[in-house]
Symmetry: C2
Subunit: 729 residues, 2 copies
Amino acid sequence: MTTIDLATKGGFTLPGEAGYENLTWQLAERWGADAIRDSDGTTLSDEILSAGFDIYSTICLVRIDNEWARANMDKLQQNYLMSHPVFAEGDTVCIDPLSGYFREQFSVNTHDDPHTWWQVFDRTSGEEVSADRWDFDANTGLVSIRGTEEWHRYTLNFLAYRIWEAISMYNHITNDWGDREHLMPIDPIYPETQAFVLGYLKQWLQDRPRTKVVRFTSMFYNFAWFWGDPEKQRTLYSDWGAYDNTVSPYALREFSKAKGYELTSEDFVNNGSYCSSHNVPSRRYLDWIDFVNDFVVTFGRKCIDVVHEAGKKAYMFYDDHWIGTEPYSEQFQEFAFDGMIKCVFNGFEARKCAGVRGVETKELRLHPYLFPTGLKGEPTFTEGGNPALDCKTFWVNIRRALLREPVDRIGLGGYLHLVEDFPDFVKAVEELAQEFRTIRDLCRSDRPHAAPFKVAVLTSWGKLRSWICSGHMIQGLELNEIIESLSGLPFDVVFIDFDDLLAGDLSEDIRVIVNCGRAYSAWSGGSHWENQRVLERITDWVAKGGGFVGVAEPSACEYGGQFFQLSHLLGVDREIGRSLSREKPAFSTESGGHFIMKDVKGETGFGQEVGNVFVASQDTRVLAERDGSVRVSTHGFRAGRSVYLSGFRFSPQNTRLLHRALYWAAGHERGFGVWTCSNIHTECAYYPGSGKLVVINNSPQAEETSICDAQGNRVEVRVEPFGIRILDV
Amino acid sequence: MTTIDLATKGGFTLPGEAGYENLTWQLAERWGADAIRDSDGTTLSDEILSAGFDIYSTICLVRIDNEWARANMDKLQQNYLMSHPVFAEGDTVCIDPLSGYFREQFSVNTHDDPHTWWQVFDRTSGEEVSADRWDFDANTGLVSIRGTEEWHRYTLNFLAYRIWEAISMYNHITNDWGDREHLMPIDPIYPETQAFVLGYLKQWLQDRPRTKVVRFTSMFYNFAWFWGDPEKQRTLYSDWGAYDNTVSPYALREFSKAKGYELTSEDFVNNGSYCSSHNVPSRRYLDWIDFVNDFVVTFGRKCIDVVHEAGKKAYMFYDDHWIGTEPYSEQFQEFAFDGMIKCVFNGFEARKCAGVRGVETKELRLHPYLFPTGLKGEPTFTEGGNPALDCKTFWVNIRRALLREPVDRIGLGGYLHLVEDFPDFVKAVEELAQEFRTIRDLCRSDRPHAAPFKVAVLTSWGKLRSWICSGHMIQGLELNEIIESLSGLPFDVVFIDFDDLLAGDLSEDIRVIVNCGRAYSAWSGGSHWENQRVLERITDWVAKGGGFVGVAEPSACEYGGQFFQLSHLLGVDREIGRSLSREKPAFSTESGGHFIMKDVKGETGFGQEVGNVFVASQDTRVLAERDGSVRVSTHGFRAGRSVYLSGFRFSPQNTRLLHRALYWAAGHERGFGVWTCSNIHTECAYYPGSGKLVVINNSPQAEETSICDAQGNRVEVRVEPFGIRILDV
């Protein structure tokens, strides 16, 4: 048993910075960089460009030329907004569409006929106000509504141009760029824009002979990010997966040609909730996604062909303007991207990148970015910041995911000079880069030991949004927490939707289905659970020996006198106040002993848990409760097994609980324990090809742990704080 | 300023017990009894009957003669039950209707044609199974269903006779009556039953020449109480206000004649949730209540006429078989009852009795009952019990209500001999009886000082269920906790429903409307909040200066893109997961200072509070929060004011908070403080007619408090634990 050497070079992309050439060389050496990139706000000097590194150049095609944008203001990107509600105090109401919105981000579209493209709603009666009862005055910019009813609430759905591209706006404001020009996003849906973009791209490639990799940021449409009047509320709406920003009259007309029916403004505005990724997508919305995806792939491929013709590689940045690319769609491979770069804080984000098919090179952009402050305004590379600790904290979560599914490269972004005052950070990156290369090399030709069955996560989005949930980590969103735990657990995980379930497309090696989320969310499934075919199918599957793990409000919707539609499988249901007079069976809680709870010490913390969960079967075994509400339980149904958890939060203890719950639900608990660490703060991966055992310590303390091999022999090992050990076994 | 003498005699009803005559005399003397009653399970001896006391005799007309019942089994009372669900594992399903139910309580009605009166449902598809696809076999007692779909969930709605009257069953089992006969409830809906009952009653009255008061227990139909297989679950369903027990084919036919349409079994079964008082009553259910109420009043009046003809008084026991009497209905006075007796644990129950119009005498039956164990099986008059403390604990809450609205009498029930071993209890009752008489005498001719405005509680039930909520106290049910606080606060409280609101029937002196409860409950209002006329009306009322206090999920239903339909008034709304991508405005919490929070020390505890409440207006003032969720807030809308509380629990501190919130919402905070105690553990009532000030101490410690009179003079007073002081001021 020996510790092997760590690799020392390559697979690292450094953000270069003109004027800091010496620092660039020095850090490239220490971090083992083989590629150098520019960033939004930095340039690379000739000296850097000619130093022998692979050069990445970023381009965001929708903000390439503000002059052209200014000359084509009718081709700026648009979106629907709902005006803030106004209460009628008489028989007329006047609405200022952009009141409460950030007027530097939006401008009302007065080019396209308001009466054709806008809608006014009486949200109190729920009815649309007919077009003959309202007018838009282009001079005042106001909409006036006649014949209003007193104290009814009126809103306007209207089209707005985005006159400041959101990511550029964010960088500008975060980094205090002062009077630097506001970049406007152009919409490539128009043939004129496409011609301009392709021409510009060709010239841009010609101008960059040293560039080896073109990093597209990303394609054309940013995720939804509506800002508010800064005096009142900076951010009004943000959804990493939403298609709000893809709308225009042109696209809507093309859509109706393609799909044979028309969408309205309300399809996008949806009572002011817009088309959030958290909500069960309608068939109409899925059609729109499909339509936009089709366009983005088709025109995106033309751009990538131009890059390839210029002898360069094309990488996609899987963030920002990723909308329409859908890396988990069948169409994605048609882009012919050579690589994908994903910025990551977490394990599940690493898996999100690692799991994409159809690109050769996958690269993670690590946090913290070399910006003075973080995404939430917290200090990083300024006084009070501790970027070395931030970096390690993010890394331990990313590292465990990379042990399960590797990527090819890592890198950083931002202003290199900011690291000068943070030698700890330089050292931390040096160490993690070495760890990364070692893990990558181990995984390349080998798959680590994993459970002998697959786990399927069932949501309304299914495979299309594998490992995505709502995008970035949302604390307390149960599915986010679950997939973060799963990202480093030894399971082959697949994501399925209700159509997969109905089609009977479940592969035979799936032994457990996980359904996790709050009632009516896209994650739990909402009205899909009213579909009798869904209920038949999953009941049959469990009855025949399948496992089901439900978290928070699995299978929840009000239907047929129950709330959890799978309460017959789960053995629990939730009282939401519709059957308060029904007495709930008493239960006793088993103390310890159950396989699932073996590594739980004290009370499990599941975050903001679901309450009022009651036992719905005589056979339910309750393993944890609080205030009479079930928190952890198991239940058998014919040959199958189910587990219920009232919430979830990513933590070492809960990760182990989930690990055990999945094994138990699969009926595989006898197989549990092989290549599993005794100490929950440590995890390991065994690579049978090379006979290497990687043991990681996720905690800031040194930890002792023991690992059991397939023959039952134990390996005892001590791992340094946040450390890694690689053993031949 | 002097303490006045306490009254010493009368207004007290003692439960006599044959064989314990000396004890009866002794306690009658100490407790000041002027009346003696029998109880279920006791009799009065001739010695007691002729001792000069007013004699109360209890009669429950539906269980008077088991022999007649046995001879008329088709005229026993019935109800619809839903069988426990059975999952189809093939194309047939067999249902044993009473499986899981208490077979000593129910017997399947095989007299009336099952295919006419029963329904089978596929609860998975939500569809009724047509009558040609199922059969009932009278020999086996089983229902078989053909053509079932695999893994669908099937249930049967069927009619069951009740073969053991519920209250008698409860008393029998609680008091171990062994092989004593099971009394069966007969249904007076049939003319034959009516003839028998009236005849029996006449004879019964003739046989009781000493009886002065006939205590009806109560009229004909008990509240819903379905028991289960004792091996599995004792109680399956209980609802103090529900009409489930009033059903029969005869009544259903009469209903369709009266109302012009037919009800089905599913109108009662309602997916297994039955017609719970907690749920918003449908128009059809309200029609049924009206139909039953009409019958109960009509035939009930005939019974009372017989009593009056016999020269006796008729009192109603406002519990048990109270269904159909509806003491807060317009019809109630037509009964011509002379008195009403209500068993009480709490303040709001005392108000429930005290507030009834149309009876001369109101009497409270205090707890604990003279039974070995309490309603929940806890020891009272057995080892481990402390009936004196129980009695005081109940009394302090009842007493504060009686200061606001008096009753005429109090009394006890049960087995007198049980008190022999509990001298503390005898003393406690002696003291409280004296307190009661004093308060009664003070209130009789005088109304205590109260706020100069009325408070209206808005629910789906309105006036019909004034002070009732779900019947007895349900811990944690917000409206129960609110009305318990209100019961002793100096407000004139009225209960209104949504029809009252729409009719514009709000009296001018109503200054605050309270809406309190969980979403979709009868208390909050559910779908009534989708009614634009309701929203117009209440918005207008508040805009013109009204006050609105919302508790938990006021005005909540999913509609128009918001959850609290009055969020424009309240200034807050609740995120239930449908608009997660909408960013919520940041807020800061005001520390102290606000009028409402003046007497709050530390954190207010509101029980199981509503979370994820966010600020929906720039002008909302947040006075308390937890984990970013608003707990107490205020908001102005035009000339009106609103207060939001995220939950409520009856406690001295919260009662004061509510007191202040109502004054603030009414815009009357300058008037607050007069005749109000400085110490929240004490309360007072000032009677301007007599110039008496009653100060009560609700706590088990002695308390010092000061009271401000209308001129601003302060009265300082010390009150003993649970004590009372009566001062001339």
